[in-house]
C-alpha cells in the first residue's frame, strides 16, 4: 500500500492498477479497483436481481471472478465495459438457474408484439417518473433490462452490447426497440394513459 500512497489514488488509471496488481499480486491495487466499481456493480446487480441479499452475494462473486480473470483482460474494450459485461452475464446466469423456464428477452416471448414497429423516443423511458420507472423495470424481462441499462446507463455502443451478449449489431438494435416498446406497454398496463413524468 506504501507504493500506492505515494501517488494519489485517483491518478492511477485502471490499466496501471491492473498491471501493478498482476506484477506484485498486492491486494491494495485490487482494492482501489474495487472501490472504483463496487457501487456500480452492486447497483446493476440490484436492478437485475431485484433482491438486496442476492445482489450482495453476486457483487462479491463478480469481483472474485474479475480478480481471477484479470490476466485475460486484453484492453480491447475499456475495463469498465469488461466489468459490466461480467456483471450482466453473471446476473443473467443466476436468473436462468433460479427460474429454469424464464424467457430472457422480449423477442423470446412469442405473444409480445410491439403494436407498431415504429421506434419509441428515448425520452419516453428516460423521463418516466423514477418510482414508476423502477416498477416498470422490475416487470421487464432480464435481457431487456440489461440491454436498456447498457445503452442508457453505461453509454455502451451497439457494437459493445453485441459483444457482451454475443449477438449481432442488428439484433441488438431490434432488441433495444422492442425493449422500449415493452417498457411503454408495461407502463400503459400499470398506469393507463397517465403522462410519464407526472
Amino acid at each position: 500500500m506504501a507504493a500506492v500512497a505515494k501517488r494519489k489514488t485517483k491518478e492511477y488509471s485502471d490499466s496501471e492498477l491492473i498491471s501493478l496488481f498482476l506484477e506484485d499480486q498486492n491486494s491494495a491495487y485490487f482494492t482501489l479497483l474495487y472501490r472504483r466499481y463496487a457501487g456500480k456493480v452492486f447497483a446493476k446487480c440490484i436492478s437485475m436481481l431485484a433482491d438486496e441479499g442476492l445482489a450482495r452475494d453476486a457483487t462479491q462473486d463478480v469481483f472474485i471472478k474479475i480478480m481471477l480473470n484479470l490476466g485475460k483482460f486484453t484492453e480491447q474494450s475499456s475495463f469498465s465495459t469488461w466489468v459490466y459485461s461480467i456483471t450482466y452475464n453473471y446476473c443473467i446466469d443466476i436468473i436462468r438457474k433460479k427460474k429454469k423456464n424464464i424467457l430472457i428477452f422480449s423477442e423470446d416471448m412469442g405473444k409480445f408484439k410491439p403494436e407498431q414497429e415504429q421506434e419509441i423516443p428515448d425520452s419516453v423511458i428516460l423521463e418516466m417518473e423514477t418510482n414508476r420507472l423502477d416498477k416498470v423495470m422490475d416487470e421487464m424481462p432480464p435481457g431487456d433490462k440489461a440491454i436498456l441499462n447498457m445503452k442508457y446507463i453505461d453509454d455502451m455502443q451497439i457494437k459493445e452490447i453485441a459483444a457482451v451478449l454475443d449477438k449481432t449489431e442488428s439484433a441488438i438494435k431490434m432488441q433495444i426497440m422492442r425493449a422500449k416498446a415493452r417498457a411503454q406497454s408495461i407502463y400503459d398496463d400499470m398506469y393507463g394513459t397517465e403522462p410519464i413524468n407526472s
Partner: protein, 89 residues
C-alpha cells in the same frame, strides 16, 4: 433530456454495504493463501508419490535434488597429496 435510469442507478450505488469490501478482501486473502500452498507443496507431494511407486524424479524438481551426491564419510582420511610425507621415522 433527464435520464432517470441514471438517477435510479445512483440511488442504488449509495446502498452498497460497506462490509462487502471486507468480505471480498478476506476471500481474496484465502484464495491467495491456497494458491501459494498449492504452488509450494503440490509438486513435492507429487514427487513423493512418484518415488513411492518407483518412478523417476519429476523434471521440475530435478535441479533441486541433492540426494545423488555421495555423502562424505569422515572416518576415512583423505588421500595424501603427492609430495607430502608424514611418516614417523
Amino acid at each position: 433530456m433527464n435520464n432517470n435510469l441514471k438517477k435510479l442507478q445512483e440511488e442504488r450505488e449509495a446502498m452498497l454495504p460497506p462490509e462487502l469490501e471486507e468480505r471480498v478482501s478476506s476471500q481474496m486473502g484465502t484464495m491467495a493463501f491456497f494458491g501459494n500452498l498449492v504452488e509450494l507443496y503440490v509438486p513435492n507431494a507429487l514427487q513423493v508419490v512418484v518415488r513411492l511407486v518407483g518412478g523417476e524424479d519429476l523434471p521440475c524438481l530435478k535441479k533441486n535434488r541433492h540426494r545423488e551426491q555421495k555423502p562424505i564419510d569422515w572416518r576415512i582420511p583423505p588421500a595424501p597429496e603427492p609430495g607430502l610425507n608424514f611418516t614417523d621415522s
